[in-house]
Symmetry: C2
Subunit: 412 residues, 2 copies
Amino acid sequence: MFDKDYKKPEEALKLILKSIGDLTKDSETIPIEEAYQRILAEDIHSSEDLPGFDRCTVDGYALIATDTFGAKDTNPVYLEAIGEVFMGEETNLRVNRGQCVKIPTGGMLPDGADAVIMFEHTQQISENLIEVLRSLSVGENVISRDEDIKKGELILKKGSQLRSQDIGAFAGLGITNISVFKKPIVSIISTGDEIVPASSPIKIGQVRDINSYSLDGLIRQRGGITKKIGIIKDNYDEIKRAFSYALSISDIVLISGGTSAGVKDMTSRIINDTGKPGVLFHGVAMKPGKPLIAGLVDSKPVFGLPGHPSAIFVSFDKFIRPVIENIAGYKSTKNIDRTIKASISKSIASSMGREDHIRVSLEKKSDGTYLAHPIFGKSGLITTLVSADGIVIIDEDSLGLDAGDEVTVRLF
Amino acid sequence: MFDKDYKKPEEALKLILKSIGDLTKDSETIPIEEAYQRILAEDIHSSEDLPGFDRCTVDGYALIATDTFGAKDTNPVYLEAIGEVFMGEETNLRVNRGQCVKIPTGGMLPDGADAVIMFEHTQQISENLIEVLRSLSVGENVISRDEDIKKGELILKKGSQLRSQDIGAFAGLGITNISVFKKPIVSIISTGDEIVPASSPIKIGQVRDINSYSLDGLIRQRGGITKKIGIIKDNYDEIKRAFSYALSISDIVLISGGTSAGVKDMTSRIINDTGKPGVLFHGVAMKPGKPLIAGLVDSKPVFGLPGHPSAIFVSFDKFIRPVIENIAGYKSTKNIDRTIKASISKSIASSMGREDHIRVSLEKKSDGTYLAHPIFGKSGLITTLVSADGIVIIDEDSLGLDAGDEVTVRLF
């Protein structure tokens, strides 16, 4: 069979992750202003209650709830207004039975009060006399001093990727510096006698370096830092030298190109000759992306990537993304796939034993559901990716999809 | 009814977008290395064919397909090997009937040849004699000179948000600088006598400025630049001065806090007193987020945001995000919602005429589907957002959800 000698994708991924173990990077302390999307390197506990005082959530009168029992439009309760709370200020007022205190939204609840009635449900009869037209229960329109966050409470776990609201919570607690994991550094070596820089005019037979540009965005999207080592000719010594340099400055090394028959043994040999354990596997039962090489050199994961742009994307998503996430420290982040359901517009055949990654473009129908149009075209064509919105995976046990089948689209 | 006086969310959004019209910013030219996630300000056409020459996609022999018709293991065809193509080099070889040329993956197809047979499907009999064991069709294992991109072809439309593969395509075409729209500048004015900076210790009655931190991440996520104007006391003159300054340096102004009864008229008055047309509406039939103010001053959209963290999130997603996207120039980008389907774990009641935004936390079940757990809690609590993975919207015509109902979760 076509793919018999190649590793199954899931097994290949497990082998990589098991081999590299936990390579999470050191941490660094940064201000929360710079923490958006970074990965927390410590558990964050609150050092105080939030809001820290009983806080009113409406504009109205603070009072004692039991005083209002039975109050309605036709049977109001009368309370004595004894003063006013001002925004952002502590109050020394104390509410006793039969009394109330004027209070703004966000104001501090005075001692004795346990609820706040909105202005709309009162009538001011005189300067000091308020008519209450509704019954309140204890705690109504009040946030208690530790209702949002209790002192000592675990706010966020080590390994969480920080979102807007998380940083807001830190600000609320007065936590202005936090410890995050350093970003993984991913080096890219572009190989191939035919590859020239993007800025170069091309002669017949040459192609510009597409993949280091595509990979850069993918790496950044996962929180990595890209180092482009440059374009290296298909020469053992030159690639080996570039590879050793890349290993010395980065956490992951990607060698783009150089995995097909002509030079593939060279990439494997260089990996094996540079350090232990060397190549973990060469070839996965997956299309595109079949000629992938994965290895480990001096505890650093290294990959030999096929030269085709589509193969780069699929290999990255399946194998390199999880490795970057491991090193970046994403441990407690829920991995909620960015997927949507769609119905596939055309039938697609697939071989047993091979995982097919089909590029699709999405069309939103008038009923709000999506139609996924498969993009056929050789995996060497960058345009098939430019017109795609995502990927549909046909797993290795499937013979394909029928038009109209529901599919899960992994969005780019 | 509770929400009768408030605008319906969809109508409110339409009113805002219609009122502001097209405010897309000027463009700037940047290198493609910096273009990831920026918005294209020009249509990009190709100035050349890609790959630019007929390119081989396997290691093998270039030949004339008709020579191989009928070839199989038991009935091979014999071809004369007349030479070799080298990677990245132009070739002057010409393949005639009965001939073939050795070629590496990515090599330039020699004149006369129209297909390439893989090494695996050949046997080398002598130095110059090759046995072909398969039939090929014309074009097999070849990418033609303009198969990826034709000279003059539209690659990407103005208004597209640039992804990794788009930048890869530019690199492939030798396009190293492109024109993108400038990023919208969004100012945040935090108001409230009780608000203190995140770095400040707090006294009873005070709260730290959570919202400018939460908003910063949301703005950046949509490609905007945040300018924090600072924390301003609830004073007409001070807020008006800060507002005028913010208008002078930004494209959108957000006033956080100051929309509840005590001071809401002040925010509305300041907007109306600063320029025309002023306030567009005050209040939407939505929970949380009801007290939103939207306005337009000297052609710049301005918003008065409720102080509660959850209300900030919901208002941002519903109203401010589309406005930022309008100004940022996202015109041709398909707006594929980042949503997943889940089943709701508890019943939730909702009022007719009000759009409810329910925070949910997601649990992945063993069968790969998701359970959405509603997070109950006052909208003033930042923790309800920290523990949430997304939002479920219950529309204004619905009375609520039953446990087990399928829901669409908008992911944060």
